[in-house]
């Protein structure tokens, strides 16, 4: 069986897109349940540290088993049964994240642009495209990410530059007046979103040079966290932390306050176009990771027969959220997102790294 290959650059773009698009739209560090307000930018710095640790731990483990996926090396490290049980956690994360991202994008479109269009239509159309992408294979997704990343970056950079002249520095005061607690509490949500980096566990075996996986992953973390950090600065500076934290989609609201000229207005379409391109990559990649991990779990020859049932499951999961309030509570409160995403990720990493180090020590002693 031939292994499909992607360049390290393509992995970088995939990780950048998946970790940038949705967090930028909902800006959980400010509009989430953390209450850091004007100090949200400090929370972002802390979250960047947390994401670097998570991405380095996942990619670092992957580079020890350059030709194996996280499902395969879990079984090698922990044995068949335990390995399979542990690898169920990343599989769950892949499908849940894919479903949540789809639902969030559908909510943005429905709330701000197409209020009468049913969510299922928006999700369904995007999922049809994602299905074609996944069946075409990771190489096609990699090339698409290659092509889209530049456009997404251009759209997002324009979106971040336009409000700059109207930034009010006073909106960032007082700094750390309420202590570190709200800042850390707000940082927990973007750190929990770092569970998305579990996708490295499925993508690294397809990379041309897996040995450079850690540096690729860390570059992607820095790139995406820079974008999210700048978004946080723009929202606080332009709208004030009070107005920003009350917005459902803070960056979109900032864009609604910009007037470039009398004849060139409502440029939020650039932002949404960037998000739209990104969500295709994001949903496709997590779904690909999910079906690919399932195929390794069941030891099937190809993941492709699993794609259609998986798509149906993801669509159903995304429609399980009754309303945006439930979705926000699920995704943007530390009380739920930490035990749901961060703790399982830490558990998987701790168990796998522990097993790897113990095995290494044992093999040294036996030598």
């Amino acid at each position: 069986m031939t292994v499909e290959k992607i360049a390290n650059r393509q992995l970088l773009f995939i990780l950048f897109i998946t970790r940038t698009v949705m967090p930028m739209s909902m800006l959980p560090v400010l509009a989430g349940g953390g209450n850091a307000m004007q100090d949200a930018w400090i929370s972002m710095l802390i979250a960047t540290g947390g994401n670097i640790i998570l991405a380095a731990a996942i990619a670092g483990l992957g580079t020890k088993f350059p030709r194996l996926s996280i499902v395969e090396y879990s079984q090698r490290l922990l044995g068949g049964v335990a390995g399979r049980l542990v690898s169920l956690l990343p599989i769950t994360v892949y499908f849940t994240v894919s479903a949540m991202e789809m639902r969030m994008y559908a909510e943005i479109i429905n709330t701000a642009f197409l209020p009468r269009t049913p969510l299922i239509a928006i999700i369904g159309i995007t999922m049809i495209l994602a299905t074609v992408g996944i069946i075409s294979g990771i190489e096609v997704l990699g090339r698409t990410a290659d092509f889209f990343a530049l456009w997404i970056a251009i759209f997002l950079i324009i979106s971040l530059l336009l409000p700059l002249p109207e930034i009010c520095i006073e909106n960032f005061q007082p700094v750390l007046a309420r202590g570190l607690e709200p800042v850390i509490s707000s940082a927990l949500i973007p750190i929990a979103i770092g569970a998305q980096y579990l996708s490295i566990g499925m993508l690294l075996p397809h990379v041309m040079t897996p040995a450079r996986g850690v540096s690729t992953a860390l570059t992607a973390v820095i790139m995406s966290m820079t974008f999210t950090f700048l978004s946080t600065l723009v929202v606080i500076g332009k709208m004030s932390p009070f107005e920003g934290s009350q917005a459902t989609f803070p960056l979109l609201t900032v864009f609604r306050t910009i007037e470039t000229s009398e004849f060139l207005q409502r440029l939020e379409i650039l932002l949404v176009l960037g998000w739209g391109l990104g969500i295709f990559i994001s949903a496709s990649i997590f779904l690909y990771c999910g079906v690919s991990a399932l195929s390794h779990w069941f030891k099937t020859e190809s993941y492709r027969p699993l794609v259609l049932p998986a798509v149906v499951i993801v669509v159903i999961i995304s429609m399980l959220f009754e309303d945006i309030f439930q979705l926000r509570t699920f995704a943007l409160t530390p009380e739920i997102s930490v035990p749901l995403f961060l703790l399982p990720t830490i558990f998987v990493l701790a168990v796998l790294w522990g097993a790897y180090l113990i095995r290494k020590l044992l093999s040294r002693w036996s030598d």
Partner: protein, 426 residues
């Protein structure tokens, strides 16, 4: 692989059929996707044809306390009339509709009951709020403006003073303009950019102020100047010729209107908030102390610092140290003395300009104190720079602002140049 066509032709016939079959399948899938994508281009369930929409250019909101109902009034551009009459004929190039409801949203939706087309708010450049609504509380209106996706946050909000109805305001035909919304937008821009007598820049700015701790809102004031029967346009008087006054502002406490600021008080507010982009100032000439000199300020900066001191009775004294820096130029003078060379006369000119600015600020501050509304954001200054102290005084801030807060104003004003002539006309 280098010559795909030759490779294809050199394969066996059966294989060629399989390849063609696969390509056909791929082509069919691609066509299917493109077809599906085309179906979505129309806007799915939200497809709206432009000819079915009424393009709202100005939106007004009124509250009727006797009925406890909100009324939304809209001015809708009539592109047909604009083209046919060039916007200056005997029939107005706009229409005005209104509807009532228990909430602003319900009223806005019910507009469709009075119009043949669905109102589309994305082009509304103005938000007129009646004095009634402002006194009752702006909260519901602001909530609607923030929540509704069609509303443009760049639109200019203002308060319509007195008993004049918003319908009358929207029916006013302003000279040189196609419809009043267009005229008022230009006039607001002039008031902000050229004369600093109108504070409202955009709904976004107003919303930001409404949420800041220790700061109250100030929204521009609009009034319709007197109209008579002779001003009627159209057979049924669909519009009235008239002019609109846009200067001063409504001051709010929380979301309720508590009083008005006049032109000079608005300038005082503008000096503090660095909102002066160009302003005119009159001073008496230093040479004789009786002739007017007209100055234009074209650059101003401000800096404020909150200060807390303890007096001899161990009571806390709250003070704001305000430093203003302004640059201006002589635009005209009635004084026969020339202000040409560096020296006492020019220094005195600078001092007099500084004194006028100081008086503007003092007058504005005292007026705000009398109304009990901190439109300057002095409380916000304590919140930002003395957070712990702010938490202590937050609940009593209005009282402190009204009775205890002192303002220490320092102005550095410089007249930089004197136009194209040095000596006055004799």
């Amino acid at each position: 692989m280098k010559y795909p066509l030759l490779n294809f032709l050199s394969t066996k016939k059966a294989n060629r059929e399989i390849i063609v079959g696969v390509h056909k399948l791929k082509l069919m899938i691609a066509v299917g996707i493109i077809f599906c994508a085309l179906l979505c281009c129309g806007g799915c369930w939200d497809r709206d044809e432009p000819e079915d929409q009424a393009f709202v250019v100005a939106t007004g909101i009124d509250y009727h306390p006797d009925q406890e109902l909100y009324e939304i009034i809209v001015q809708v551009a009539d592109p047909g009339a604009l083209v046919a009459e060039g916007g200056s004929g005997e029939t107005p190039s706009f229409a005005v509709f209104s509807a009532k409801g228990h909430t602003p949203f319900q009223a806005a939706r019910d507009l469709a009951l009075h119009s043949t087309r669905e109102p589309f708010f994305a082009h509304s450049e103005l938000f007129a709020i009646s004095e009634n609504t402002a006194r009752h509380g702006l909260g519901p209106a602001l909530d609607f403006f923030r929540r509704e996706r069609q509303i443009r946050l760049t639109a200019v909000p203002f308060i319509l003073e007195g008993d004049t109805s918003i319908t009358q305001l929207f029916r006013t035909d302003i000279p040189l303009e196609n419809y009043s919304a267009e005229g008022m937008t230009r006039q607001a821009e002039q008031g902000i950019m050229r004369r600093a007598v109108f504070p409202s820049r955009s709904l976004a700015d107003t919303l930001m102020c409404s949420n800041l701790p220790g700061r109250d809102m100030l929204i521009g004031r609009v009034a319709v100047e007197k109209q008579t029967k002779e001003d009627k346009i159209g057979e049924e008087g669909e519009a009235l010729r008239g002019t609109i006054k846009m200067e001063g502002a409504a001051a709010f406490k929380e979301d309720e209107l508590v009083g008005w600021f006049d032109q000079s008080q608005i300038k005082g507010w503008g000096w503090i908030h660095e909102k002066i982009e160009a302003a005119t100032v009159n001073i008496k000439c230093p040479a004789h102390d009786k002739h007017n000199i007209g100055l234009e300020i074209y650059e101003a900066q401000s800096d404020m610092k909150p200060v807390i001191t303890i007096d001899e009775n161990a009571n806390r004294q709250y003070r704001i140290d305000l430093f203003i820096q302004a640059d201006g130029r002589i635009q005209d003078q009635l004084c026969p003395t020339g202000y040409v060379w560096e020296g006492d006369l020019v220094n005195s000119l600078n001092q007099r300009l500084a004194q006028v600015i100081k008086n503007n600020i003092k007058d504005s501050f005292e007026h705000a104190q009398s109304l009990g509304t901190d439109v300057f954001g002095f409380g916000n200054c304590f919140y930002r720079e003395k957070y712990r102290e702010w938490k202590r005084i937050e609940a009593d801030w209005v009282e402190i602002f009204q009775n205890d807060l002192r303002l220490n104003i320092e102005v550095d004003a410089t007249v930089r140049r004197a136009g194209l002539i040095q000596e006055p006309w004799r």
